[in-house]
Point group: C2
Chain length 357, copies 2
């Protein structure tokens, strides 16, 4: 099963909206075939493993990281393929939380006399598809915010300068985080001050499905020559009554302009609804104090990835979160630390939210 | 030698102004005596180990973490004692940087025909007496600042509330840090807002020499009933022209009031001179943004111990450092991370300054 997970991981940057799945087929204690899912619309892990006509699968065991699908999607149901192949035993790490599968694949296999084991390494199965499970269990994506901060909690100087707080290694780690997400959310202030490109530059053999870039820009203030507009998939969420000519120019540049907020309502709830409607499983916030605070105050941040540089920027600098209007120190932690590691000259801390409200 | 260091460590909270020293005496590959230095004025490690009249030290080897002293201090020179004992071989981890010893002990031993080895585990020897070495090599104490911060870099809310940002375990770790220092520096603002006691509460079998509490209070604003005044050794550094009656009352309470600053000069340099004049080796800053910044900007912080809680306090909160007036992000790190660990629910990061200017 460990090998099956390694196979699944090859799809870590590309399978959305499908889950990452890997498998291994063994017979007489030897691996006779392997497979992984790479891209929505392309073959599933099981299909890849069972496609070789020169292999005799009769009596073999398939180890798969997620329940085989039982429905006709862009590809045929994997369950039928398994039944046809002569495979005798199916070991899968977890049920598929997607309601169109959820247990049905297993039921169908068992009904056909196949030996089935479910729940081996279930934790890893949920870990590798954290956002996928979260989406089907909680009804919204797994949202991570990534922050590059000085030791005193600043993400830029008062003049807006923020290049570069963290070291090169930490910044390249950030590209990996981007690639693992289906969408990146950024506020217009960050674009106006930093003009970031938010491209994904990554040295990897694994295929990359670039994340959708979602810009929160209620008044459509984004400059026409903003670097971020050069990305493939750009969506600008704005308010009513914006400049239609500018909207047109942005559309010509390939950006999708969606009027989501009414004038008095820039609510983060609209954004959240949008993320759900697009079925994003993993969403990354890579923005400034305001966007971080809005998501945090709406209990929408599930994970924090914060890189601390060993630099002191001083109290005039901009903080990583905006106003909170607290009158007392919260008794309990909002998050728990799950990782503290050195990345280049910096320290990376990973935190997960305590409860998923 | 490892055992000698363990012995030295027993004096970690108590030997100032002397260094921590431990030793082990072996003969025929057996430990026949051990010793450690506990308290200035009391017996040195070598004296403790060589005091047993029932032991025959002839031909033995003594392992000692620091060069034996050659001068008459509050106790007689250890070198003479070693010569008298019949010990044949001396292995010491490092020379003593104190100019009244520095190599002379070794020279004297060698001249008397004793086999001497120096420099075994020298790094550990310098580590355990970091401040002592720093004091004699750089002419000033090793200064550590301890910070309890939220994840967004805040040490209190805008209303001053700071209890408690970090968890109980992190706070008890802070007591250990206090005990390891010879003096604690705190600004008057912290006292006015927090009224901390700065007592050392520690469960340990090792003796504790309470640190001197140094309060930076140029206008003598400290309340007469401030909890911090209950400590044994309290020094208030103030400016000229302060209220003499108040000074008198504070003296009655046991506090030493020293007029160190002239009206226009509250310079941190005066404070630094005071620390040197008192021969402190390890000094802890446990204060707010202003004091942290002043020491940092004067290149006087050698180590940062920062505890991050998994809480977000918001941009209105007080930052861990004050104004820096930077116009660009520093290219290089001021510090390097040497430790990142979980302490209770919090993360502790330890940083050392890159260069000791």
């Amino acid at each position: 099963m460990a090998k099956a997970f390694l196979n699944a991981k090859k799809g870590q940057y590309s399978t959305w909206p499908n889950p990452k799945v890997g498998c291994v087929v063994t017979k007489n204690e030897r691996v006779i075939a392997e497979g992984w899912h790479q891209w929505a619309g392309q073959e599933h892990a099981e299909q890849m493993a069972l496609a070789d006509a020169s292999i005799d699968y009769k009596g073999a065991t398939i180890y798969v990281t997620l329940e085989p699908c039982s429905h006709q999607g862009k590809t045929g149901p994997c369950v039928d393929l398994i039944l046809k192949s002569g495979i005798q035993r199916v070991v899968c790490a977890s049920l598929d939380p997607n309601p169109i599968v959820n247990g049905e694949g297993i039921t169908k296999l068992k009904a056909s006399g196949i030996e089935v084991e479910v729940g081996i390494y279930e934790d890893q199965a949920k870990e590798i598809n954290r956002g996928y499970f979260h989406f089907y269990e909680k009804g919204r994506p797994w949202i991570t915010t990534k922050i590059a901060s000085s030791l005193d909690g600043k993400i830029s100087l008062s003049n807006g300068a923020s290049r570069w707080i963290t070291s090169e290694l930490a910044r390249s780690d950030a590209h990996t985080i981007r690639a693992m997400n289906d969408a990146i959310v950024v506020g217009i202030d960050t674009i106006l001050v930093d003009d970031p490109s938010y491209s994904v530059r990554l040295e990897t053999e694994d295929p990359i499905n670039s994340p959708e870039i979602i810009i929160l820009d209620s008044q459509l203030r984004i400059p026409i020559d903003a670097k971020i507009l050069k990305n493939d998939k750009v969506v600008i969420l704005c308010g009513q009554g914006i400049d239609q000519v500018k909207k047109e120019s942005l559309s010509v540049l390939g950006a999708d302009v969606i009027c989501l907020f009414d004038e008095r309502d820039k609510s983060i709830e609209r954004v959240s609804e949008y993320l759900v409607s697009k079925k994003f499983h993993h969403v990354l916030i890579e923005s400034g104090a305001k966007v971080n605070s809005s998501f945090f105050q709406n209990n929408l941040i599930d994970e924090i990835n914060i890189f601390f540089a060993a630099k002191i920027l001083g109290s005039e600098g901009l903080s990583s979160f905006g106003q909170m209007k607290l009158v007392e120190i919260p008794k309990h932690q909002s998050f728990r630390f799950v990782e503290a590691s050195l990345v280049g000259e910096d320290v990376k801390l990973r935190l997960l939210r305590f409860t998923n409200v």
